[in-house]
Symmetry: C3
Subunit: 361 residues, 3 copies
């Protein structure tokens, strides 16, 4: 009962939690092309989760923005030694940035690699988290909104493993590998696109359009991260191979490297395979100034191959985060699109000033 | 504060509850016609209810699937001796299967009689539940989404009475009668259709299409149920008479008989007019295996009469339920459509393997 | 933990609240034009709010009717002496009726002045409430659903000040002034319309249609209210000036005066700038009859100017409110449209009988 609500029975067998997050964005886009300045409620979520009879967990998570969308919603069993088995709607196990909550990304939006990540499907997933390694594997059907009368739904299978040879007081060295194979529904279409690390205007700066004849695709990624007290760094690289029934098979790729430094005596919060929310050591209102962090990131994404001309983009982003108290965050980002080569916005390099206010528990 | 959340004041005058349910389905359809295999979030509900000043109750229930839909949401008064008066959006009082929660049906989906049931309207309803009988009556306007500028909304009126000459420790004999009359909005259309006891693909196997000139219709049903310790049985028969302004009046009918048997030392939970959630006597994680139940059902539905050729269908379903602990349930059903005569899928008899994982409190 | 749910830590630094409201309407429309009689769930809301680390507040409010819509959702800071700063989606500071919750309006719907009020935008707002005055000012972008790729979003700025030279035990004298300037998105359209103080049928009795070339508009209003024990009165007048790039600039105006009288020993609940929920002194179920109030209102609205013929309307409404216990309310209104001159329903004066049942905490 701090932020949100947590109620437990005294024997610890039962627990109920209400959690949520609200993210309020405003953006000023400069340069070509003309993109709409404005504001946006990026996420407005309510999540209800709990534990019953010690070994069973449940969750129902909903995002109220844009008409509403069901997020991670499942039933799970935690009675195995350290492992967890879940069934329901879940995000696929792919990529350090997507495995960490959107509330905890060091820059306001995830990198251009977002083009390849973050989908949720109905399926089963097993995972385990230890101090020095983690592993996740799952098999999935289609997404929650897919309901077809005649054509079988798509399906997918994937896994992610991470290692952390160093993981003790604010010192972390993390490596990860993940791959996800997906077979599309016979009538489904595949398309990759991405906004320029700001999602206020809804403008896609690179876009493959619908890829004709795409039937299956495989995304594979490598991750690296390091934390040394106030300093942190992470990098990811991902390739996507698309098999087609018409035209040549195509491949796309992207990556980013980012680094952060706390001006205050704080550190990123590594949670055995992903990053949790920073906990400022000195609270505003308690004689402190909260936690202040500077971040920089270089991202690149190439959505052009063979007959598919989605465009290639490089981008540099600088950010400042202020966490006055735990669960609150105010961020400002400056996004400088360095180069766009090919695709719908070829040669147009906007600069964006983006701010976000958020609460999240 | 077990599953969900329940908070009361010590004098019992005030109470707040959070409840919900999540149902995760997967289905494999075999035989003709080709129907889409796949997965589905069948229900994802959050319900908030409570009691204030001893005598007043309230509820707000929402299903987050398929864009979201308001479920039973009302204000009520319980200060009368044993009776209850409610106003708001409520399901009509018709049929034992629909009066029992979807979380507690013995097979994954209700029977083919679903074609005639489960609508919710805005209105007033009075009910009373005693050990040996129950009665419900209500008058209703239109549904929550209906908002017309010019044409008056539809309305309906109905009642249900049940008797339980036997109702003590795990021994139940139940009879019921119900009827519901509905007058359609001048511009509304009437249509009956039904899926083959699985709702993953959204495929309607019998379907009257829009019935031209339908202005009013009356649904009437008889119900019977019996419980003897581990064993249970229930049967329902329903007829629907449609008055039309063009063509002949038409009538449709259907029914089912089903029986269940617990392999473990458990019993169905009769709640004076409907069935509640089984409470396994021996929990998994506590030395037990939970409750295991075998169920079989024969259903029939005839949507063909005069010029309306919706089709006639017979179906046999077998099911296995596992309740490891209260509030959790895992079910597998095998649905064998025996015969489809007339209508859009005449002569096509699919077989379906359907599984569900659910939490519900 | 009375209605809704409120949980605090013992040091008062953290608090979580669940609140909501459900309003169930039924209406009978008589006279010309033919308007649809029927029922409606007017509002079905769940609001989650709280306080963390003493000085920070948050809120997430959602209306589940009509597909769902995000309401006031923000993050705020209350660490300043008596002032409050908030960021997020909020209703603009304009008009006594709109500043008071819809659950507390003396008649079922707000007056015809609703044509000019109640919009919510994403922005920042500062306010302060004292015993004898209040002040609010804010700057806003566009609404939560607005997401444009190319055209900059609209923006607005406004403020409201109120004075209450008398404000002690059930004696209130209140004055207020407010103005709000809004600059439309380049592609946005402006339209004013209003239903006849009942919102069951969705029928707009006056309607400017889209105003060609409207680019900015300013709404300004004056308010007055007085409470003397059982008796209360309030009046508002508002003008809206629209600047256009084609045709003449146009102006619209409207106002209302209303008065209420409690038959029981109760009083309106003034909350330093707006009206809160009446608290009946003698509860039903506790030997009392609750609080009973009679209300009358005259409203007028003129949406005709230059080439824009939206219509002019006068309306008289009588109401009876019954609050059996706090948080519950049952109301009946008789709305007599006196005159409609011009616009889509010129010369047609319906009479409406409207009832509402509501819970709200």
């Amino acid at each position: 009962t701090k932020g949100g609500l947590r109620v437990s029975t005294t024997d610890g067998q039962f627990e109920t939690r209400l959690r949520g997050r609200l993210m309020i964005d405003a953006a000023d886009y400069d340069g070509a092309p003309q993109i709409a300045d404005g504001t946006n409620i990026r996420r407005a979520r309510l999540a209800w989760s709990g534990r019953i009879f010690s070994d069973w967990i449940y969750k129902l998570d909903y995002d109220f923005t844009d008409g509403g969308e069901l997020k991670d919603s499942y039933i799970g069993y935690t009675g195995f030694s350290q492992a967890r088995l879940r069934m329901g709607l879940m995000e696929i196990p792919l990529g350090l940035q997507y495995r960490s909550s959107s509330a905890n990304s060091q820059l306001i939006e995830r990198s251009l690699l977002g083009a390849f990540g973050g989908d949720r499907y109905i399926g089963m997933m097993a995972d385990t988290k230890r101090q020095h390694w983690s592993a996740t594997a799952g098999i999935f059907g289609d997404d929650a909104n897919e309901q077809r009368e005649r054509n079988d739904e798509g399906w997918g299978v994937g896994a992610r493993v991470t290692m952390a040879p160093i993981n003790h007081n604010n010192m972390v060295l993390h490596f990860g590998l993940a791959t996800f194979y997906r077979h599309l529904n016979d009538q489904a279409t595949l398309r990759f696109d991405e906004q320029p690390e700001a999602r206020v205007a809804g403008f896609e700066i690179v876009d493959t359009g619908i890829i004709p004849g795409a039937r299956t695709y495989t995304r594979s990624g490598v991750e690296w991260a390091a934390v040394g007290n106030r300093w942190s760094a992470q990098a990811e690289y991902m390739v996507t191979d698309v098999r087609r029934t018409v035209g040549q098979d195509v491949g796309f790729s992207g990556g980013h490297i980012q680094s952060g430094f706390f001006l205050t005596d704080d550190s990123l919060n590594y949670e055995n395979g992903d990053f949790g929310s920073p906990q400022p050591n000195h609270h505003v209102g308690d004689g402190g100034v909260g936690a202040w962090e500077l971040v920089a990131r270089y991202s690149t994404l190439d959505l052009t191959d063979e007959d598919i001309i989605g465009g290639e983009i490089d981008s540099l982003t600088f950010g400042l985060n202020w966490y006055p108290v735990p669960m609150l965050r105010f961020s400002a980002n400056y996004i400088n699109v360095l180069n766009v080569d090919g695709g719908p916005s070829s040669g147009q390099e906007p600069r964006i000033f983006l701010v976000r206010s958020q609460w999240a528990f």
